[in-house]
Amino acid sequence: MAEGTTYATPYDEPGHENDLKRSITGRLLFFYTLGDVLGSGIYVLIGAVAGAVGGAFWIAFGVGVAIAVITAMAYAELVTKYPQAAGAALYVNKAFGNKFLTFLITVCFLSSSFAAAGALSSGFASYFLEVWEFAPALVISLVFVLILTIINFIGITESVVINMLMTFAEVSGLIIVTIIAIWYVAEGNADFGTLTDFSNAEGHPILAIISGVALAFFAMTGFENTANVAEETIDPQRSFPRALIGGIATAGVIYVVVAIAAALTVDTETLAGSEASLLEVIKADIIPVPVDAMVILFAIIAMIAITNTTLVAVVTQPRILYGMAKEDVVPGVFSKIHSSRRSPWFGLIFSGLVVAALLTIGSQIDLAAGETLIDRLATVTVVFLLFIYALVIVSCLKLRGHDEAEGNYRASTPLLVVGLVGNLVLLGYVVYDDPSSLYWCAGLVALGVVLFLVEYLFGKRTRPASAERGDPEVGRGA
């Protein structure tokens, strides 16, 4: 990834000077993607995936990665075609030109982001409780959301570098797990038979894999947020596809290795039974290092990893709402910018409240249902994302032959078809297997519809105000 740092910017417009400085190099983008993807799933969900499949759950991660990489190819192709204002909603709009569908996909993306932030916050709380047990999980996850919202309000301008440091921390945690497994294997204790074990599967192994993949897919989420920074990437034509696909593929290799490591060292029942599953590998006390110190170190690494990904989700939510307010599909207050911090303060508060509501409602319901909040919210995220990813791939195929320029990245068509089928099979399975997740999805989409209706019915009051805001001459009474 050494290249990508010194290219000239190809998008200079004649009205502007030749030094439209973009700030994100290919290398930073690679780490941004890797950090985004790595944090989400493996620390939070590995236990649930192990529970669904058995010792062979690394296959689920492998298949999940393969589908995610193909989806990323579609994203990469579309981003290089439309580097300004990249995002699933824009692609779908370009491909179909249907306002309702565009609105729906925007709301789905927003909802998936809410659900993901909720799942990640619960995951954070699980690891936090392993180290300092002084408050209920719900309280910790709510405080976590509050702190991220405040950080976001202050602004995270400089965090490209911090993001890179966080990514290194995340990788180091996974290296620790791998080293433990290698040590275990070297001592001759490992039973490689577990790697082909489907003992937890209910029914045919293939079905078990699919259910595992559906959960593991949550671990791949986050890469679509990379499109946020497409506009500021140096030479996006070349660096974006490499960074995006390279980042996910790297994350995928790490996932499979870590999954194998976890399967070899800890039996799947223990993994499945723990909310902070990777910590079980440390607790197995295999390497000759004090286990207490290692547990604390690893829990902190896991929390950093989860924070990194959640932060990106929390940034994305008010951004989407801001864009929607600009287009007059949600109330104009979402485009209000704080005068000195330049943050969309209302959107931030609103997003924080929605995530907090998901966590609170979820913790009440799950007490009855006996299922963990993380699994539930992760499933909801996956349902939304699979729907979005499938539509993005269709949009990519549909937009072939439009707006193509020299040097555009072009994904392989047969692979895209495979990816599309993969996404749809998973979507079908998740909905069939867990229809109750659809209630949550419906609730989140309904929230978006309510916002639209508020704008539709009362929007006329805000529009003249926004026209004034856009025109400084009017505002100054000149």
């Binding site: 417009e13 009205g15 502007h16 000077e17 030094d19 439209l20 400085k21 973009r22 700030s23 994100i24 300004q84 204002a85 995002g87 824009l90 976001n152 202050i154 602004g155 995270i156 301008t157 400089e158 965090s159 490209v160 993001n163 946020n228 920074v229 506009e231 500021e232 940034v315 994305t316 939510q317 008010p318 951004r319 801001y322 864009g323 600009k326 287009e327 485009s335 910018i337 704080h338 005068s339 000195s340 911090r341 330049r342 943050s343 969309p344 959107g347 931030l348 026209a467 805001r469 856009g470 025109d471 400084p472 505002g475 100054r476 009474g477 000149a478």
Partner: protein, 159 residues
């Protein structure tokens, strides 16, 4: 002298540009560079509150922050049309304070003009506004234009 006028898309930054024009001698200023900085990782990378709906480029509403930044730069640059000095327009990406300081160094600027930002409690409680950092680290004099109290706002705006 080369003067850098920074805009974050706020009305205050436009007022700062007008303030410069109200007292500075255009014959002593050779060039004016209007600079906007996009913060790629912030929730809203750039909010353009200056240009009218008609002035906006097609991509603005679809979420192109670069187009929003270019719009804001155009509005501020238009203030200096016919004033005398040659006007440059620049959009950069990164941390606003860092990019403004870097630009001041690269252009050997003689003055940087920034708006002070808000007056609210958040600036007291929370760290590092852009104007503060530019004041501290700029290689040249810095004009920080404070928002005028409401009563005299029209006086501060134009001369």
């Amino acid at each position: 002298m080369h003067v850098i006028v920074a805009t974050d898309g706020s009305k205050q930054s436009l007022a700062a540009a007008r303030h410069l024009k109200s007292f500075a001698d255009p014959t002593k200023i050779t060039e004016v560079s209007v600079i906007a900085v996009i913060r790629p990782l912030a929730a809203v990378s750039f909010a353009d509150e200056l240009s009218t709906v008609d002035q906006r480029k097609a991509h603005t509403d679809a979420g192109s922050f670069r187009a929003a930044a270019e719009n804001a730069v155009d509005v501020v640059a238009a203030e200096f049309d016919g004033w005398g000095p040659k006007v440059h327009r620049k959009v950069r990406g990164g941390s606003p304070a860092n990019e403004i300081i870097k630009a001041a160094k690269q252009l050997s600027a003689g003055l940087v003009v920034v708006a002070a930002g808000g007056r609210g409690i958040s600036d007291v409680v929370l760290v590092g506004s852009t104007a503060q950092r530019v004041q501290h680290y700029a290689p040249c004099p810095v004009l920080v234009v404070r928002p005028a109290p409401r009563r005299t706002a029209s006086k501060a705006g134009r001369s």
